[in-house]
């Protein structure tokens, strides 16, 4: 090859080419670094969120209790109906035995008994109701302390704060310290957080009502939106004629998916509660409202999954003489199922975290018992978080974070199920 022909060709080793090569490598590196940066920021934010929730929320997973030896005085309890007994008196008497000097001073007595939670007597009552033979015996009970003492025990109340700015006075702290020295104070796992319904007193408040309410609401939402959504998607995708009307419907469904959830709440308030007179605060109505929101998500996910089924499968089935309906239900739908299930669970996870529409139909009411049926008044997890975040008692600060952690763990669980189902079905098909 002569020099002349070489000079006519592009110089693959020349400076111009090297500059171009370097520029290309630089821009690729920049893109890579930007991507890494974006991911680190996202992870950092997630870490901060979880860390801040855990750092405040972990306090709520334990609850300070004091251990008291209670004499279940037959004179104070009606043996025929153990529900009716002066349990508060029994438990205050027990506490006074630890501090005999205050027995006659009403003010001192009140200060002393403020250690006990307002619900302390109920845990004793419940045990006696369950086993009436206990009456007349001396039994050791662990009862929750009231919120300020719980805060004190968890180190959330600063003893250095001047007395007039503190919830607990010096004397009250001294009483508590004496009990602690006597080994009567313990801090077990706070099972009440899951087993109790809501309460005005943080030490008694739990998420049972909210969890059951959310469960009923999601169940209703699923039972309504899954069949209706899949049915609508199948009709639109497989059977509906492609014309202006079906285009209009498609645009509307896509727009519905973007409508703010509070609007669905207003709709439910006007239609379900206003016109049809359905019960206020009921998880069933909440589920119907959430179904309105979840429907477009499910329809869109289902249509996308149906569209993604290769046409060769449809042709194969049509070719052996399957009818349209046999093709859809025998071949296309099973193949689309993983995508449909993923879309549905993501839609339901969204519904689980939805607050605004539930507020509007009254699921943020203060309800101290768990719903027995979907038609009873209840709260849901997000609305319970909303209520607690609004409460002034200090104990609700950590409980709000704990409730958020519970909600997040349910969400993670649902997404895990979505991934599991997708992979299981993909293996099968």
């Amino acid at each position: 090859m002569t020099e002349q022909t070489a000079s006519n060709k592009f110089d693959w080793a020349g400076p111009a080419f090297k500059a171009r090569l370097n520029k290309r490598k630089r821009s690729q590196l920049t893109l890579k670094l930007l991507g890494l940066g974006a991911i680190s920021i996202a992870f950092g934010m997630l870490f901060l969120l979880v860390a801040s929730l855990v750092s405040t929320g972990y306090h709520a997973f334990t609850q300070t209790h004091i251990e008291v030896e209670v004499f279940l005085d037959p004179e104070q309890i009606n043996a025929d109906d153990p529900n009716r007994g002066n349990y508060r008196q029994i438990i205050t008497d027990t506490l006074v035995t630890q501090f005999p000097e205050v027995a006659d001073d009403r003010a001192e007595l009140r200060k002393l008994t403020s250690i006990l939670s307002n619900g302390a007597q109920f845990s004793i009552r419940d045990e006696v109701v369950a086993d009436p033979d206990l009456i007349g015996q001396t039994v050791t009970f662990k009862v929750p302390v009231s919120d300020p003492y719980d805060q004190l025990n968890k180190g959330l109340m600063d003893r250095e704060t001047p007395e007039e700015f503190r919830r607990l006075k010096n004397e009250e702290i001294a009483n508590f310290d004496i009990l602690k020295e006597r080994g009567m104070v313990s801090k077990p796992l706070n099972t009440a957080l899951i087993t109790n319904a809501d309460s005005r007193f943080p030490e008694l408040a739990g998420l049972k009502g909210a969890i059951i309410g959310s469960f009923y609401a999601l169940l209703t939402c699923f039972l309504l939106s899954f069949p209706i959504g899949i049915g609508a998607a199948i009709y639109l995708e497989e059977f509906a004629p492609k014309n202006k009307v079906s285009d209009l419907i498609e645009i509307n469904i896509n727009n519905l998916a973007a409508v703010p959830s509070v609007v669905f709440g207003l709709l439910a308030l006007a239609v379900f509660l206003g016109w049809f007179g359905m019960p206020r605060s009921a998880p069933f109505v909440g589920g119907m409202t959430l179904a309105l929101m979840t429907l477009p998500t499910i329809i869109i996910a289902t249509r996308a999954s149906l569209k993604a089924v290769p046409p060769s499968i449809r042709e194969a089935a049509l070719g052996v003489g399957a009818s349209k309906q046999q093709v859809v239900f025998g071949h296309v739908l099973p193949l689309a199922m993983p995508g449909i299930l993923t879309g549905t669970i993501i839609g339901l996870a969204q519904a689980l975290g939805e607050t605004a529409p539930l507020l509007l139909i009254g699921m943020n009411a203060f309800i101290t018992s768990a719903p027995a049926t979907p038609f009873d008044s209840a709260t849901a997890l997000p609305t319970q978080i909303f209520i607690w975040a609004d409460s002034p008692e200090r104990g609700f600060v950590s409980r709000t974070s704990a409730a958020i952690l519970v909600l997040l763990s349910f969400l993670i669980m649902m997404n895990g199920i979505a991934i599991f189902l997708r992979q299981k079905f993909q293996r099968k098909w």
Partner: protein, 265 residues
């Protein structure tokens, strides 16, 4: 390999199975098939050849009304199978497709077991009264599809796990499981390697004793090897139709000659 196989060249004057008169197909604004008239004989292999986009596949899909499933496609004209108009109101396209089996370009087994692939057609048409009868139909179809020996021990495994050639023979077996009279094959070998192609061609040769087979192919060698009759399509017209020997050795139309000799295509 070719001469290993004995091909019956002498076409007996059998009955006409399919008659097409003035068939026109429009895809939206495109006139895909223009006034096609053809008589296809029973128990023969008829090959449709022609350059890409000439309408041979479209015409094939008219014969089992597969084009009905495409929204923009309009089919006009008179197509009769055994003298009966397939566009007649009394004819159910779904049932028609069970009588006129079809094998597609790309092997498309259902993502189900090999057994269920074959059993699907007989099941939805209620051809078997019992499990034993269904087993028999499946075995017969797989034997006719010349794949029984390869799959008899793994009928419960997925059909998609087979090799390309096996998948295509499975699809052929699936198509004949419903006992059709006519088997339409749309470039059945285009996705297969030469060995699998040879197997499928042998199978086609076997099948034409019982069915009338119509095969669309891009390969003129294939048409020459497997068919007794050949139709040459060009730009939506049926240019020439005749015995395969005659088309390949003594084409009447200059366009056929150009295509066969490789000048257009």
């Amino acid at each position: 390999m070719n001469d290993m196989r004995k091909i019956e060249r002498d076409v007996k004057m059998t009955d006409t199975k399919i008659t097409a008169r003035n068939v026109n197909v429009h895809y939206g604004d495109t006139h895909a098939i223009k006034d096609v008239n053809v008589d296809i004989a029973d128990k023969t292999v008829t090959a449709f050849i022609g350059p890409s986009g000439c309408g041979k596949s479209t015409f094939l899909r008219c014969l089992n009304r597969m084009n009905d499933t495409i929204d923009v496609c309009r089919v006009q004209g008179d197509i009769r199978i055994d003298g009966k108009d397939i566009h007649d109101k009394s004819v159910d396209p779904v049932q028609l497709r069970a009588h006129v089996g079809m094998v597609f370009q790309k092997p498309n087994p259902f993502p189900k077991s090999i057994y269920d692939n074959i059993a699907y057609g007989p099941r939805i048409h209620g051809l078997a009264k019992s499990k034993a009868e269904l087993d028999e139909i499946v075995e017969k179809a797989l034997r006719r599809g010349a794949i029984w020996d390869e799959v008899k021990d793994r009928l419960t495994q997925s059909g998609t796990g087979l090799s390309g050639g096996q998948q295509q023979r499975l699809c052929i077996a699936r198509a004949i499981a419903t006992e059709p009279d006519i088997l339409l094959m749309d470039e059945p070998c285009s996705a297969l390697d030469p060995i699998a192609t040879a197997q499928v061609e042998e199978l086609i040769d076997e099948l034409h004793r019982d069915y009338s087979v119509i095969i669309v192919t891009h390969s003129m060698q294939q048409a020459a090897r497997v068919s007794q009759k050949t139709a040459f399509f060009h730009l939506g017209n049926l240019v020439e139709f005749g015995d395969t020997d005659q088309i390949f050795t003594d084409p009447k139309d200059p366009r056929t000659e150009s295509y066969i000799t490789g000048r257009i295509g």
